[in-house]
Subunit: 339 residues, 2 copies
């Protein structure tokens, strides 16, 4: 039961004061090469590691950041989290993960906990709605991803969802369809941006928005793959019956697009001849669709690069010079085989 060793023990063992040990650990202040060597040796021999809680208490910083996400099972979020965590670790930060499961109460609980743990920064990813900011820790840098906050002082980075929708809609129109947009039951700022991009493009191309232009699944329908597919079959039948040109669908996510493709398959609708589909995200599933899914790719590398460097720089210049900054990341159309 080897108790954990403290700086004091190291000081005794190397015959110097704790101040000196602290200096060599932090490579700060001056000390002779010989003491440095000695102390370092003792540290290694006893494999001493600094006590981050004591250090944090003293320095008023934890070298920890919190990351709040709606759902780790969503591969897009998991991707973001993984990348951010890796980048932060390289800079000496550890990250506490908080999966809110889209529950606002839970989110509040997490925020309280994170404040209590004195996180140096916060990354807030998406989320149904911009939660009541009351429980947001005071005075620490925050960057939001895909979650617009009314609070002006929060940095924002996210894909240019609007642009993505424009790209998709244009492509579908160029392919000779009068596209419809199909969306799930969930709503968020990124979703509304996409819908807006769709609408604007339709109008710009002189296509009238009809009843079937924007189709929204109910929560119940969206609940499981099976109910979703069933509904999607109905939708497809209706769409196909109304049109003698190919039908185009911009699906709000790759998951939805994949379900759509399955529904089409079971209806013996041929893709991309009778039906053309574009998804959003370029999630791993896109390459497992049949045919492989044409989609809008979100550049998670860039998103996480910006997010983490924003956060780091504003954690370091404690004055937050980047307040209110907004960064929109370009998306791109990945041409595969569903258009």
């Amino acid at each position: 039961m080897s108790k954990k060793i403290s700086i004091k023990k190291i000081a005794d063992l190397s015959g110097v004061s704790i101040a000196t040990v602290s200096r060599v650990i932090n490579n700060n202040g001056r000390f002779s090469e010989s003491t440095k060597a000695k102390v370092l040796r003792v540290i290694k021999e006893n494999d001493y590691t600094i006590n981050a809680m004591a250090q944090g208490l003293r320095n008023q910083k934890s070298s920890t950041v919190g990351i709040v996400i709606p759902d780790l099972n969503n591969s897009f979020f998991a991707d973001l989290v993984g990348k951010i965590e890796q980048k932060l670790f390289l800079k000496g930060y550890s990250t506490i993960i908080c999966d809110t499961n889209r529950d606002p109460n839970k989110e509040n609980g997490y925020l309280k906990m994170l404040e209590s743990k004195s996180v140096d920064g916060l990354i807030l990813i998406s989320g149904s709605k911009t939660s009541d900011t009351s429980s947001i820790p005071h005075d620490i840098p925050i960057v939001c991803i895909d979650r617009q906050s009314q609070n002006q002082n929060i940095m924002y980075v996210g894909s240019n969802h609007y642009q993505g929708a424009v790209l998709a809609t244009q492509r579908l129109i160029e392919a000779g369809t009068t596209p419809s947009l199909v969306t799930g039951s969930r709503i968020s700022t990124s979703i509304t941006d996409r819908i807006q991009g769709f609408k604007t493009t339709m109008i710009k191309k002189n296509l009238r928005l009809q009843e079937t232009s924007i189709i929204k699944l109910t929560e119940e329908q969206d609940n499981s793959p099976d109910t979703r597919r069933q509904e999607l079959r109905k939708i497809l039948r209706k769409l196909l019956s109304k049109s003698d040109t190919p039908v185009g669908v911009f699906a709000i996510s790759d998951a939805l697009a994949a379900d759509l493709l399955i529904a089409a398959h079971s209806l013996l609708i041929s893709v991309p001849n009778e039906l053309k589909v574009i998804g959003f995200d370029d999630s791993p599933i896109a390459k497992y669709c049949y045919p492989e899914l044409t989609t809008i790719k979100q550049d998670t590398n860039k998103i996480t690069d910006y997010a983490s460097s924003y956060l780091i720089s504003s954690m370091q210049n404690h004055e937050n010079t980047l307040n209110g900054k907004i960064k929109l990341i370009d998306v791109s159309l990945i041409n595969r085989s569903t258009v």
Copy 2:
């Protein structure tokens, strides 16, 4: 720039000593109802939150656990992490996530960091090989998932991979095939267990293990979906040409099974008539395969239940009563449409 408020401030504001404040916060020791009310009110008014670093330093515990995984992009791992995190949060622990990207050096770095942060417990998920235990923090409870450790004193929980392979192999045999097993380039204790289950079942059923019984992709082939599928096509052609009964394949993961199905599709091989496939994991992709993938389901609810309650109980009875415990979780065969 409202500085964070401390217990001292609360004490002053409520006209009591810090000791009393501490007592009411922790609901411990005795104090009058009236002081309790007063203190609580002041706390609420100033929305004070306890400083976890100070508390941790004093109590020698951080209420934090570390969770080390090979790859957050793998949906199976992400699932585990999400579930564990949620369960731990309910019990008052926050979790630091460490995505090693399968890099042993990085893993060591993470372990050092976690030790430094004084995590109260550790969850180690899978990983290529049981890493050199040298940098594992001393004397804290650890539970491994899908990672057998030579260290006797570490709890283990994982699926019964052997049983899963037996189930799959039997099913394939009963369906009239002489199954082959196809595996990726990666190796781990769970994979070897599955291979063992396959072999044993083959032998028990009086089927000879041939050259084509166990097929292993090289790292290069396994590198991208495209190279993988190309190789899988070769394999399928060979397998189909050798047999005039249906061909059965037990794929070591759902991802591999999905690639196999795609390869089969492009070869116009009909599933499940000419080819029968069983995967492993029941990952989200299984329901997006065409036909929907028959697979072995790992019960991540049970796995994470055991893992988190083992960990919690041994963090609480500081004496680790559960040392060396091993828990194998049953898997089940999910019948869908590829057999």
